[in-house]
C-alpha cells in the first residue's frame, strides 16, 4: 500500500483524511485508484496534478515507480512563466 498525502482542500473528498492509502506500483495506478476510491478527486485529477516522490516533483510521468517506503505527495499541476 502507498500512503498518499493530499493537499488540504481535497480532504472534503476523502472523508476528512489528509493521507490515504491505495494499492499502486506507479503513478498511473495511484491516480486510477485514487479516482476510483474517491470519485470526488476525479475532476481535479482530470484537470491535472503533479506528484512528489521522495521530494522530487513529477508532472506527467505515469510509469514512475513507487517504492514501498516512498513519500508520495499529491500536488496541483505545476505551472510557470
Amino acid at each position: 500500500m502507498v500512503a498518499v498525502t493530499l493537499w488540504g482542500s481535497l480532504r472534503r473528498f476523502t472523508g476528512g483524511e489528509g493521507q490515504v492509502e491505495v494499492e499502486a506500483r506507479n503513478f498511473k495506478e495511484l491516480l486510477d485508484r485514487l479516482a476510483e476510491t474517491y470519485p470526488g478527486l476525479k475532476p481535479q485529477i482530470d484537470r491535472g496534478v503533479s506528484l512528489a516522490l521522495d521530494g522530487r516533483i513529477y508532472r506527467e510521468a505515469w510509469f514512475t515507480e513507487i517504492g514501498p517506503d516512498s513519500e508520495v505527495v499529491l500536488m496541483p499541476y505545476m505551472t510557470g512563466g
Binding site: 498525502t5 493537499w7 488540504g8 482542500s9 481535497l10 472534503r12 473528498f13 470526488g40 475532476p43 481535479q44 482530470d46 484537470r47 491535472g48 512528489a52 521522495d54 521530494g55 522530487r56 516533483i57 513529477y58 508532472r59 506527467e60 510521468a61 514512475t64 513519500e71 505527495v73 499529491l74 500536488m75 496541483p76 499541476y77 505545476m78 505551472t79 510557470g80 512563466g81
Partner: protein
C-alpha cells in the same frame, strides 16, 4: 567517462562566457521579430475591441464594413469551428479551457473587459482596416462590472461568468470564485499559543504587465487546400499550433507554426490572442494576413499578472523561532477562470521550516483581461506578504532579519509547507552568502533603509525533443524547439560542446518550426536550460555512442571496447587494441563511407528540475517631501545549481530584480469608475529605466541539482520573487511605517509618511 555517468565533473566549456550567438543579428537589426515577416499579397488585420468593461453582445452587424472597398474579410466569434465538448490545455500559467481561449480571442456572448476583442477585419491598407472597424455596429447591453478582487467575492457582486466554479469551491460563495486550495500541516493554534508575538497584516498588490518590448505580432497564410502557415512571436510554437488547429477545425499536421525571434515574453507569450484571428481572416480572405498589436492593445487585452489581496498572520518566539504561519490569498484572475493561487499558496511559506503552517487560496473572476503567466506566477505576491510580516516581527524583537531567516530556513529533510520533504536545497547557503556579502554590513545614511527577502520557485522540466546532427566538417548542429528568451541557444550549445568534447564555436543551435521536430512544451517554468539541456546531453551521448560504433568498425574491434574521451573515440584499454584516437571530425569526415550520416536524438519528458531559492538585499532612500523612492544598492544571491553561461544567469537575476523593483515601486493597472484601463501605455505605466537603477550586483551559488547530470537548476523565475518584499521592507524601515500596498508609488509613500507625522 561512461556514457551514462551522472557524477560531478570538472567542466571545460560549461561555465565559460562566450559571446552570445544572437548578439550580432540583434544589434545590426537583422534579427526577424514577429512583425518583420511579410508575404506577397499580404493584408492588414485589425481588431475591434470592446469599450465597455462588461456588456452583453446583442448583435454584431458587419455588413457595412464588408461592403467597404479594400476590405477582404470580416470575422467574429461565429467564424470559429464548432467545438465538440471542451478540452483542458496547457497555457503556461495554468491549464485552461479551450472554449475560454476561443472566447478570449473573440468575444461570443459577452464582452468581459475593456479591450476584449469582438470582431476583426482584413484589408488592403491600415487606413481601410481602421475605417472598416468603425463601420462594424455592435449592439451592447452594458452590464455592471467588478474590478477589485475583494469586491468580486461579495455575494452581491456582478457575476462575470456563472457556473464556472471548480468542485473545490464550497457552496454559498459568489459565482466569481472559481478555485479554492488549502495547504499546510501541524496544529496552527498550538503554534500561535507558543508565540511571544503575533503580527497579522493585510496586503494588496496591483496587476502588473510583463512589459516585453515587442508587441504581439503574427502572419497567417491559409491555402485553398486547407494547409496553413503561421509565423508569430511566442514562447511556444507547438502550443500555438495545437490550440489554433483545434479552433480552426484543422489537423495539427496541416498547420506549421514558426516562432520568430522574440523581444521578451516573461510568461506573457505563453498564450494566444491574435493568432487564431489572423488564421480566420486568412482563410476567409484567401490571402496572407498580418496582425501587429499596438502597445495600447498589449496593455488592454493581453495578460497582466494577477492582482492580489492577502492576509498573513505569523507567530514568533522571542528568540526568532517562527511558531506558526497562516496566509489567506485572494487572486484576481481576470475574466476567465485560472488556478494561479495554487502556486502562490504553495510558495508562500516555502522558505521556512515550520511545524504549523496553513495557506488558503481563492481565484476570483473580475472584469479585467485574463491574467497570463509572469515569471514564477503567483509566488511574488504571496512571498511579499509573508516576508513583510517576518520583517516586522524581526523589527519588533530587535532581531537581525538574516539570522531569523537562517534560524527558520528550510533545509534538506524539511517537510515543506506545501507537502513534500525537501531534497538538497540551497536556501541556507544563499542566506549565508548574503550574510557574508559586504552589502549586508555596509553602513546606511540618514533617511535610508535596508530590506531583505528570501524567495522560492519550483521550476519544472516537461516534454522536450532535440536533434543533434554531426556534420562532415566536424561541426555540430542542434535543432531544438523552444524560442530563445533567455540565452538558451548559447547554453544548449555549451552543453553539447561539453558533452562532445569539442569547442563551443563548432556548435550552432537553431529553433525549429513545428513540422521539423517533435513536440516541445512552452518555454516557461524555467525549464529550457534544465530540460532542453538534459535532452541535448542525451542526444550528444546518443551521437557519441554511434561514433564509437563507427570507430570500432574501422578498427575491427567490439563497440564495447571503445570509449569517448576529450572529443575522440579511443580504445578502452590496452587489451582493446593499439589505435590512435579518432576525433569527432575524423569520424564525421568518413561517415558517408561507414554507414551514413550521424545524428543523436532525444525525446522525453524531463522531471527532477529541482526547486530554487534566492535572497535579495536592497538599500533605498526615500524623499520625505515627495515620497519618491531611490534604489541605492541592490544585491541578488541565487542558487543556480550550475551556471552554464554565467553572463545569462546574471542577466536573469538582474532582469528579474528590475521587474520586481518596478512591480514594487510604480507599476500598476489603473482603472476608472467605468472599468476602463486608464494607463495603457509606457508613459503612464511606469517601468524602471536604466537611470532609475543602480548596478544590480549578483552572486551565483552552485549547489548541484541531483536531477540533472550537470547539476543545472532553472534560474529565470526565482529572481522576480524577492524584490517586492525586499523593497517594501527597505521603504518601511526608511520611513518608520509598515507599507502594505503595492506599488509604493510616491503618493502612497507620502501618505504613509504624513500619517506618521
Amino acid at each position: 567517462m561512461a556514457l551514462d555517468s551522472s557524477s560531478k565533473r570538472v567542466f571545460k566549456v560549461v561555465g565559460t562566457r562566450p559571446p552570445r550567438p544572437d548578439g550580432v543579428d540583434k544589434v545590426t537589426g537583422r534579427a526577424l521579430y514577429g512583425a518583420d515577416v511579410s508575404a506577397p499579397g499580404m493584408l492588414v488585420g485589425r481588431i475591434l475591441r470592446s469599450p465597455h468593461a462588461h456588456a452583453r453582445i446583442r448583435a454584431i452587424d458587419t455588413t457595412a464594413a464588408e461592403a467597404l472597398p479594400g476590405v477582404k474579410a470580416v470575422v467574429t466569434a461565429r467564424d470559429f469551428a464548432r467545438l465538440e465538448g471542451d478540452k483542458i490545455i496547457d497555457m503556461g500559467e495554468d491549464r485552461t479551457s479551450l472554449r475560454d481561449v476561443r472566447d478570449n480571442c473573440l468575444a461570443r456572448d459577452k464582452a468581459l473587459y475593456d479591450g476584449h476583442a469582438v470582431a476583426a477585419v482584413a484589408a488592403l491598407t491600415p487606413e481601410i482596416a481602421r475605417a472598416a472597424l468603425k463601420l462594424i455596429a455592435v449592439d451592447y447591453e452594458i452590464l455592471p462590472h467588478v474590478i477589485d478582487v475583494d469586491a468580486a467575492m461579495r455575494p452581491e457582486a456582478p457575476v462575470v461568468l456563472a457556473g464556472r466554479a471548480h468542485e473545490n469551491v464550497p457552496g454559498g460563495m459568489s459565482p466569481n470564485v472559481t478555485n479554492h486550495c488549502e495547504f499546510g500541516h501541524g496544529d496552527l493554534e498550538a503554534g500561535f499559543a507558543q508565540a511571544d508575538r503575533i503580527v497579522e497584516r493585510s496586503f494588496t498588490t496591483a496587476a502588473t504587465h510583463q512589459g516585453y518590448i515587442e508587441p504581439h505580432a503574427c502572419l497567417a497564410s491559409v491555402t485553398g487546400d486547407g494547409r496553413a502557415d503561421l509565423w508569430c512571436c511566442t514562447q511556444g510554437q507547438y502550443n500555438v499550433r495545437d490550440i489554433c488547429a483545434e479552433l480552426m477545425g484543422m489537423q495539427a499536421s496541416q498547420l506549421r507554426v514558426t516562432a520568430s525571434e522574440i523581444g521578451g515574453g516573461f510568461g506573457g507569450k505563453t498564450v494566444v490572442f491574435i493568432e487564431p484571428v489572423a488564421l480566420l481572416l486568412a482563410r476567409k480572405s484567401g490571402r496572407p494576413v498580418k496582425i501587429v498589436m499596438s502597445r495600447e492593445e498589449v496593455f488592454r487585452a493581453t495578460g497582466p499578472t494577477v492582482s492580489a489581496s492577502i492576509d498573513v498572520r505569523i507567530g514568533m518566539a522571542r528568540d526568532g523561532r517562527i511558531t506558526a504561519g497562516e496566509a489567506v490569498l485572494r487572486y484576481s484572475g481576470g475574466a476567465f477562470p485560472c488556478e494561479t493561487v495554487d502556486m502562490g499558496a504553495q510558495a508562500a511559506f516555502a522558505c521556512y521550516d515550520l511545524r504549523a503552517v496553513r495557506t488558503l487560496g481563492w481565484n476570483v473572476l473580475t472584469n479585467r483581461p485574463k491574467e497570463a503567466a509572469y515569471r514564477a506566477p503567483g509566488a511574488p505576491q504571496a512571498i511579499y506578504a509573508v516576508e513583510s510580516v517576518v520583517d516586522e516581527l524581526c523589527q519588533g524583537f530587535g532581531l537581525d532579519p538574516l539570522e531569523v531567516r537562517l534560524r527558520n530556513a528550510a533545509r534538506k529533510g524539511t517537510k515543506s509547507s506545501y507537502g513534500p520533504t525537501f531534497e538538497a536545497i540551497g536556501l541556507e547557503a544563499t542566506l549565508e552568502a548574503a550574510k557574508a556579502h559586504p552589502h549586508y554590513s555596509a553602513p546606511l545614511g540618514p533617511g535610508q533603509g535596508r530590506g531583505l527577502s528570501a524567495g522560492f520557485w519550483f521550476n519544472f522540466g516537461g516534454n522536450t525533443s532535440v536533434s543533434l546532427s554531426v556534420n562532415t566538417d566536424g561541426t555540430v548542429g542542434i535543432t531544438e524547439g523552444n524560442p530563445d528568451i533567455g540565452g538558451s541557444r548559447a547554453s544548449i550549445s555549451l552543453m553539447a560542446a561539453e558533452e562532445l568534447g569539442i569547442p563551443y564555436e563548432r556548435v550552432r543551435a537553431t529553433i525549429a518550426d513545428t513540422s521539423s521536430l517533435g513536440h516541445n512544451d512552452v518555454t516557461d517554468g524555467s525549464r529550457v536550460t534544465f530540460a532542453v539541456g538534459l535532452a541535448t546531453i542525451k542526444a550528444a551521448r546518443d551521437a557519441k555512442q554511434k561514433m564509437c560504433a563507427r570507430a570500432a568498425r574501422i578498427w575491427g574491434i567490439d563497440e564495447e571496447a571503445v570509449l569517448w574521451e576529450d572529443g575522440a573515440a579511443k580504445p578502452s584499454g590496452p587489451n582493446a587494441g593499439d589505435f590512435p584516437p579518432m576525433t569527432l571530425a575524423e569520424i564525421a569526415a568518413v561517415s558517408f563511407k561507414t554507414g551514413g550520416p550521424i545524428a543523436g536524438h532525444n525525446e522525453a519528458h524531463a522531471d527532477g528540475a529541482g526547486v530554487s531559492f534566492g535572497v535579495h538585499i536592497c538599500d533605498v532612500e526615500v524623499d520625505r517631501e515627495t515620497g519618491a523612492t531611490k534604489v541605492l544598492r541592490y544585491t541578488v544571491i541565487q542558487d543556480a545549481g550550475k551556471a552554464v553561461h554565467p553572463d545569462y544567469v546574471e542577466g536573469q537575476m538582474q532582469g528579474g530584480a528590475v521587474q520586481g523593483i518596478g512591480w514594487a515601486l510604480n507599476e500598476e493597472y489603473i482603472y476608472g469608475e467605468d472599468g476602463r484601463l486608464q494607463n495603457a501605455g509606457f508613459l503612464d505605466y511606469r517601468v524602471p529605466v536604466a537611470s532609475d537603477l543602480p548596478q544590480i550586483d549578483t552572486v551565483i551559488l552552485e549547489i548541484p541539482n541531483p536531477g540533472h547530470p550537470y547539476g543545472v537548476r532553472g534560474v529565470g523565475e526565482t529572481p522576480i520573487v524577492p524584490p517586492l518584499a525586499a523593497l517594501s521592507n527597505a521603504v518601511s524601515r526608511a520611513i518608520g511605517h509598515r507599507m502594505t500596498r503595492l506599488p509604493m508609488s510616491p503618493p502612497r509613500v507620502l501618505e504613509a509618511i504624513n500619517a506618521g507625522r
